[in-house]
Every structure is written in C-alpha cells, then in structure tokens.
C-alpha cells in the first residue's frame, strides 16, 4: 500500500511537472513573440533634419532632404537590399533581360494600393512615372525639370505597357548600371490619378505606394507622415514619422538630448564623442558613398565640336588651367607621396572618415582591395621631384572650396591649408584660391584650375556613377568637363564601356577593379578621404539600418516603449 502511494505520488509529481514545464515552454514560445510584435507597433518618431524638403515629387528633386522624406512615401520597381546597393524586387516581382540586352521586361506585383484611396497600382502608373520625365508630349512633362533623368536615365528610350501587370523598358543601348539606377527615387512609381487631380501642385501632395502616407507639410517646420494601413508589405511599426527641420547642428543635438526628437542627421565631427558618451543615445556610422579628391590638371581636354559626347581626333584643346609640371607622372606621384592623408583624416575629419586610396568608396562592388596607396613619404616625393627636373619645387595654385562644406570635405579651408603645409615640406609652394560655389563649379568645368579640391557623392550605388562621371576621358570636354584631372586614358575608357555592357555583377566587378587600378596608376587624382555618414538616435529606437547612399528608410524602425 505504502509503495503504491509512493508510485502514485511520483506519477502525480511527474505529470504536474510535465504540465508546468510544457506550459512554461508553450508560454515562452507564444507570449513573448506576440507581445514583442505588439510592443513594436506604435509611437511617433520625430527625426531632426538639417533642412526642409524642396519638393515632394521624387522625379523632380535633387536634394537629400526631399529624398529622405520621399523614400518613405514612394517605391520603385526594384529596391536596395537593406544596407547594401544590391537590388531586390519591390513593385516588380521579377524581370527578364532580352538577348540583345536592350529590353528589360518587368512583372508587377499585384494588389499594390496607392495611398489616400487612389486605387491599385498598374502598368499605366509605371509608364506614367517614367514617361512624364522623358516624353515632352506627356501632359505632365511641363510641371518639372526632371534633372536626374538627364543625368542617369537617358539611355532609356521608352517604357511600354504590355498588359496591366507587365511593362517593358526599351534601352537605346545596353547599360548594366540601369538596374541599380532603377532603385533610385527618381523612378519611383507615382499615382497617375493623383497627378491628374493635383497637377502642378502634385509636388505638395505626394501619392505613392510606400509604407508611409503623406499627412501634412508646414514649410520650413515639419512634414508629417503616417503608417499606411494597406501597405503591401505589412503596416510599418511606427504610427507616425515626422521630419522636423532643425538647421543648427548644436540645436539638433540638444533637441535629441532633451527627447524632442528621436533621431538626427549630419552630426558635426566634434559631436560624435558627446553622443558616444551619452547613455541615452546611440551613434550609427558607416563609410559614406563619397570621395574627396585633389585633381591635378594634366592638360588633355577636348572640345566636343560635333556634339557626339565623345573625344574624336582633331578635337584636342589645352584647358586654360593646364599645368606643365603635372604632365610628368613623377610630379603627380610626388604630390601623392607628399600629402599626409592620415593626419588630415585624424585631425580635420576628427576620425569620422576613411583614408581614400581609390576613386570610389569601399562600400561599392568593384573596389580593388589589392591596390597599394601612395604612402606618405616626403623624402620619396623630393626624390621624384628631382628626377622630374624640379629639385627646388615650383609654385602652383590650389583651388579650394572655401566656406562651401560638403560631406567629403567638411572643413575645406583647413584641409587646403594642411595640404599647403605638406607640399611646402617638399619644396612646392602652394597658393590658395577660392571663389563662390557656383562660379567654382563653372570654372572647374571650364578647366581653369591647375589643382582643385572637389568630390562626389554617389547617386545610385553603382561604380559607373563614380568612374564614368569623374575619371572618364569623355568628360574631359571643356567647358563642361566632369574630369578635372584632364587625363585621357583610352584603355580605361574601354574597360568602363565594357563594364556597362556586362549585366553579370561578378564580371563587372572585375572590370571595375582593373579600372580603379588604372586610375590610381595615372595619379591625375589624389584621393583624400571617404567621409563617414553618421546618425544619432535615442537608445529606445531600434531597427534602423544605415544605407550606403545616405538614403533613409524608416519602414523597419520601431520604438521600445517604457514600461
């Protein structure tokens, strides 16, 4: 009897234990996930921007502030993978490239709704979103300037509707970078019906398919967006997303510290440590998609007399700023060895940058890790100068950006002075010159500068958008040059052209690696730095993934609520 009881007791204990355990495990599996998912939803994120948007039409803006608002309202056929410049399906679920590589056919996602009840997105909206930019006969064409189309999409001949859920993009010539470009804001899909309703005021009343819909714009103060309940990818976690304009960097940081905003952009290098040391804040950094460089004018410009966009025999001219000593590669390399980039990055970028050795940032495919930088070595520089016949150096004018600060050169005057001091050590006397930004760009394109400080922030995350825009011989055309080194290299051009016809990314990467090598060897450019992009958020903001293009996507972001 006693023994029986004992066994019974054990059995009961075992059953109880099992049920308790299973209950616990079940509970752990069930409850936290649901509370977690529930807990992620809700809340308003106020983001402190440095400026207001100019327009809210994705195809008609060029400034980062407008773009950061619109990237949360609109979407394109394809999009970037989080944190990368590789593309993935978005409003198109798949696509095929024709054998001649000139037609890309997109299959659209079905059941995607526009904001504010403007109905389902169809091929008509896609065609409209493109055609309004390139087709002068399109009724909407008159309402915009369509700058980015001119820069990035002129290889597109036309966009055609095949059926309600299929569109074809016909190209004038194969262009592999177009796929990356299609992830740009410029070709976001907007509602044609809404455009018809708002006409010239469409830019104040954006209607897209993205995770947030537009609510209100108080000029120079704030723009409010709200989670779009019918978003095809599922509702965003945030209820509201507000972009508040706080132009002064110190005031921006203080607004974050007091909790008036939960995120800020464009931190001053001097503020980074403040954010790092504040237990209530978090800093997110990544090398930015930019490059700051010094171009040495080698004098090989051309004038595009027949207007075919390329250099033909007989079109050669010498740009006004051509500088004789720079024609000798030993002089160019001497300068590369004479500049102490590490010190510039450490002291003037306050460490918030990566020393550059190539003409495009390391976040892009095609970056060549094997390239050796010209190391800082004043002795070697002096020796090279002597070999080139300038043992006592020479005098040259360095054009710098003055008070025009850009991400790639945050403090242009100080950087120019540092370079001046470095070059003085090897006997090169540098005179500094600056002028108003508009005049500066104009004169740079006219080839007037012997030695000039400039840079570039990438548009679409494609290497072509750096190499062909900045170092190609085609853009040595004065007075509209983009290659301020004025060094023509047919071998480089061949690689760049070939890469554009290659849709296979691995193959393209190899071609760009080779191209980067040639650019560094030519040494018409001295690459200084790739500035980091920095964002600061309150500690309770989660899920933000920084993007190489500096574009800001708030869809995955959620706010941890206080218990």
């Amino acid at each position: 009897m006693k023994k029986e009881w004992k066994w019974m007791g054990l059995l009961i204990v075992a059953i109880m234990l099992a049920s308790v355990l299973s209950g616990c495990i079940g509970g752990e599996k069930e409850t936290p996930t649901t509370t977690e998912a529930k807990g992620k939803y809700g809340g308003t994120l106020v983001f402190g921007s440095s400026g207001d948007a100019v327009k809210l039409d994705p195809a008609d803006v060029t400034d980062g502030e407008s773009i950061q608002r619109m990237d949360n309202i609109h979407e394109g056929l394809v999009r970037y993978k989080a944190g990368s410049t590789e593309i993935e399906p978005c409003l198109a679920t798949s696509w095929e490239i024709s054998d001649d590589k000139k037609t890309i056919t997109f299959h659209l996602r079905k059941g995607v709704k526009f904001h504010h009840g403007f109905g389902e997105m169809t091929a008509d909206d896609v065609v409209f979103s493109f055609a309004r930019q390139y087709d002068e006969n399109n009724w909407f064409h008159q309402y915009g300037d369509w700058d980015y189309w001119g820069w990035m999409f002129t290889d597109i001949e036309k966009v055609e509707k095949i059926d309600d859920y299929t569109v074809a993009i016909h190209m004038k010539k194969p262009n592999a970078s177009i796929m990356t470009s299609l992830a740009m804001f410029t070709v976001s899909v907007v509602s044609e019906k809404a455009a018809k309703q708002y006409k010239e005021n469409f830019f104040k009343n954006p209607v897209g398919t993205g995770p947030f819909e537009f609510v209100e714009w108080v000029k120079d103060d704030h723009i409010t967006l709200r989670a779009f309940e019918d978003y095809w990818g599922g509702r965003a976690y945030l209820d509201e997303l507000i972009f508040k304009v706080i132009p002064d960097p110190s005031a921006r940081l203080m607004a974050l510290q007091t909790g008036e905003v939960q995120g800020i952009e464009h931190l001053d290098p001097s503020q980074l440590d403040i954010v790092r040391n504040d237990p209530n804040l978090q800093l997110i950094s990544q090398p930015g998609m930019n490059v700051g460089y010094i171009a040495l004018n080698c004098g090989e410009a051309y004038e595009d007399k027949n207007g075919n966009g390329r250099w033909d025999p007989g079109e050669d001219v010498t740009p006004p700023g051509a500088f004789e000593p720079f024609k000798d590669i030993r002089v160019r390399r001497a300068i590369a060895h004479a500049i102490n980039k590490e010190a510039i990055v450490k002291n003037l970028y306050k460490g918030a940058a990566t020393v550059a050795k190539e003409g495009m940032p390391p976040v892009l495919f095609g970056y060549n890790d094997e390239i050796q930088d010209y190391e800082y070595d004043p002795e070697k520089a002096k020796q090279l100068l002597a070999e080139a016949g300038y043992p006592d150096g020479f005098e040259v004018t360095l054009w710098h950006m003055g008070s025009t600060s850009r991400p790639y050169f945050p403090v242009p005057t100080q950087i120019a002075e540092a370079i001046q001091a470095d070059l003085a050590k090897v006997g090169i006397k540098v005179k500094l010159f600056t002028e108003d930004w508009g005049a500066y760009l104009k004169d740079a394109s006219a080839g007037k500068a012997p030695m000039i400080m400039l840079g570039w922030t990438g548009d679409n995350g494609d290497p072509d958008n750096f190499l062909n825009v900045l170092y190609s011989q085609r853009v040595c055309n004065i007075p509209n040059a983009g290659n301020y080194g004025f060094k023509k290299n047919p071998e480089l051009q061949e690689l760049l052209d070939k890469a554009l016809e290659t849709y296979d990314q691995a193959e393209r990467a190899e071609l760009y690696k080779e191209a980067n090598k040639l650019i560094v060897e030519d040494c018409a450019f001295i690459f200084i730095a790739h500035a980091d992009q920095n964002l600061a958020f309150s500690k309770n903001v989660h899920g933000y993934v920084i993007h190489p293009t500096s574009r800001k996507f708030f869809y995955p972001v959620w706010i941890e609520k206080e218990e």
């Binding site: 106020v46 060029t62 700058d147 001119g150 002064d248 005031a251 008036e260």
Partner: protein, 334 residues
C-alpha cells in the same frame, strides 16, 4: 498731416523703384549662375541652356528688369527658381512666424530697456548705473548664436524648463487662422496650444531682444540725462514736485523722441527676419528663407524680399515719424 502721410507714401514708390533697380543689378553682377546651382555639378550644357531660357537668364538685364517690373506692378513677384512657389505667397506664409517673434522681442526689449535706462540715468555714476551699462555693453556685443545656444543649453537641456526650438510641440493641434500661433490659440480658445506656443517663444525672443534692449537702454539713459539737466526740470523740482513725478511724468515724455526712433528702427529690422535666431531655434521665418535664397542665387526671391523689406523699413520710419506728433505736440508735419 494727411497730406504729409500721402506724400511719404508717394515717396515709397520711388524708394521701391530705386531699391529694385539696385538689387536687380547687384544680384546679377555677383559671380555664380543659378542654372548651375539648379542643374548640379555635372549638368549637360543643353540642360543649363534650357534652364537659362526658362528663367529668361539669357535676355539683356534691362529686358529682364522690365519683365519683372511689369509683373511686380500686377502684384506678382514671380516664382522661386528653387522651389517653384510664388514669392509673395512664400513671404506671406513666413511672415507670421517672424512677426510673432519680433513683436515679442521688441516688447521685451522696450520694457526692460526703458526701465533699465531710466534707473541708470536717475542714479548716474552709481553701481546700478555701471551695472546696467556694462550689461548693455554685453548685450550689444554678445553673438546671438552663442547666446541662443547657451539659453537652450541651460533652460532646455539642463533644466528642462523650455523647449529647444520650433513653434509648437509635436502632437499639439492648432487650427491656423492668422499664422500667429499665440493669437490663433486665443481665437480658437485652445489653451494648451496657447501655453505651448508662448513657451516656444520665450527663449528665441529673449535672444533676439538682447541687442535692441541694450540699444534702447543706452539711448534712454543718455536722453534722460540730457532732459534731467534742463531748466524746466529744475523748475519743477523747485516747485516741490516729488522726484518720482518729475522723472516719470515730465522727464520721460521729453526724453521719448530718440527712444521711439530707436524702437521704430529696430522693429523694422526685426521684421526683416533674424537669420541666426531663426536658425538656432528652428523657426520657419523670413530670415531663414532669404538666407537660403541668397545661397541658391534665387533671383526672384531675393528681389521680392528686398522690396518687401524696403517697404517695411519705410513704413516703420513713417510710423515713428507719426508717433512724434503724439509724443511732442510741438511737432507738426506739413
């Protein structure tokens, strides 16, 4: 009097014409090209040409001016090159922010400035006098951006009493009627917004008030000192009037003319927008608008704003002159 005002207003037309010609010429003589600014760093020549055509930048300057003048006479100051918005509308849209801020600032500056000036004058060469005058010196020489940031740092970040910037807190609704938030919240009986908008106004108006406050205090002091030395004051004292009555009833009235002039001029200047204060306190006012426009070579905006500002200055001067009549009955305009 009526004739005088009409005459002054008629003069306004010539002032505006002169101002518009000068700004038109100056802006276009400055280096830089709005087309390049608009089209960006690597724009094609065709694109640049297209923009120049679109905004008539290729026409001779006098033709551009005549086109602009014709439009301006019809009340159309053109559209911003940068944002494609009507300049008149944008100015009117931003005016309330600046107006509210400058009115608050000028009220603070006037009250404190005059009181400090009087105390200083009455107790000449006392410690109070020195204190006020040193304070005034600090006031005029303190950089506004520094003062503004310090105010935010102390009262927002450290003490947490007042907001960092902007006009209303996130989440507070206000039906906008005039754009002057304090007035709007009174009109709609929205007391939450009323308190909130005043809280947002305190720091920026104090920052903005310092310079005019200091100027007013100094002007009040010197003007009062001059009046207090005059014979009629001695007579009044001799008549046995209390010092309080002498100072606040008789002296002040006679000292007021230069003070009113200073206040009038400062009001005009403040309504033109305070770039630094608006920037630091994230206020969407005129100062920031015009600063952005200048940086972007936005000709129509610069042009339109200058006209607006000239009008405000002329009107502020006129108002001051008219006030003289009420302050000093001996003044007559013909």
């Amino acid at each position: 009097m009526k004739e005088y005002i009409l005459k002054r207003l008629a003069m306004l037309i010539f002032v505006l014409l002169g101002v518009s010609i000068i700004t038109f010429a100056l802006v276009r003589a400055a280096p830089g090209d709005p087309a390049i600014y608009l089209a960006g760093q690597h724009a094609t020549p065709e694109k640049l040409e297209e923009i120049r055509e679109k905004y008539h930048l290729n026409d001779p300057i006098y033709e551009q001016y005549l086109i602009w003048l014709k439009m301006a006479l019809h009340g159309d100051l053109g559209k911003s090159i940068q944002t494609n918005e009507y300049v008149t509308r944008e100015i009117l849209h931003r005016l309330p922010t600046t107006l509210e801020l400058s009115l608050f600032a000028i009220i603070i500056a006037t009250i404190i400035g005059i009181i400090a000036g009087i105390i200083s004058a009455v107790r000449q060469y006392s410690m109070t006098d020195y204190g006020v005058m040193v304070g005034a010196l600090f006031g005029v020489s303190m950089p506004v951006f520094w003062l503004g940031l310090m105010l935010i740092f102390i009262f927002s970040v450290k003490l947490g009493w007042l907001p960092v910037g902007g006009r209303l807190s996130t989440g507070i609704e206000l039906h906008r009627i005039t754009g002057l938030y304090v007035l709007d919240s009174i009109l709609t009986l929205n007391w939450t917004a009323f308190v909130d908008s005043i809280r947002h106004l305190i720091l920026p108006s104090v920052a903005l008030a310092t310079i005019p406050m200091a100027t007013i205090a100094r002007m009040t002091r010197s003007s009062m000192l001059e009046v207090l030395r005059q014979d009629f004051i001695r007579t009044e004292r001799a008549k046995g009037l209390s010092e309080r009555a002498v100072v606040y009833k008789h002296a002040i009235k006679n000292a007021l003319i230069p003070i009113v002039t200073v206040i009038g001029m400062n009001t005009g200047i403040l309504i033109g927008g305070a770039v630094l204060t608006e920037t630091i306190f994230s206020l969407p006012g005129l100062g920031k608008y015009i600063a952005n426009a200048i940086l972007a070579y936005d000709y129509p905006v610069i042009q339109g704003f200058t006209l607006f500002f000239a009008t405000v200055m002329v009107l502020a001067n006129l108002a001051t002159d008219i006030l003289y009549v009420y302050i000093d009955p001996r003044i007559r305009y013909r």
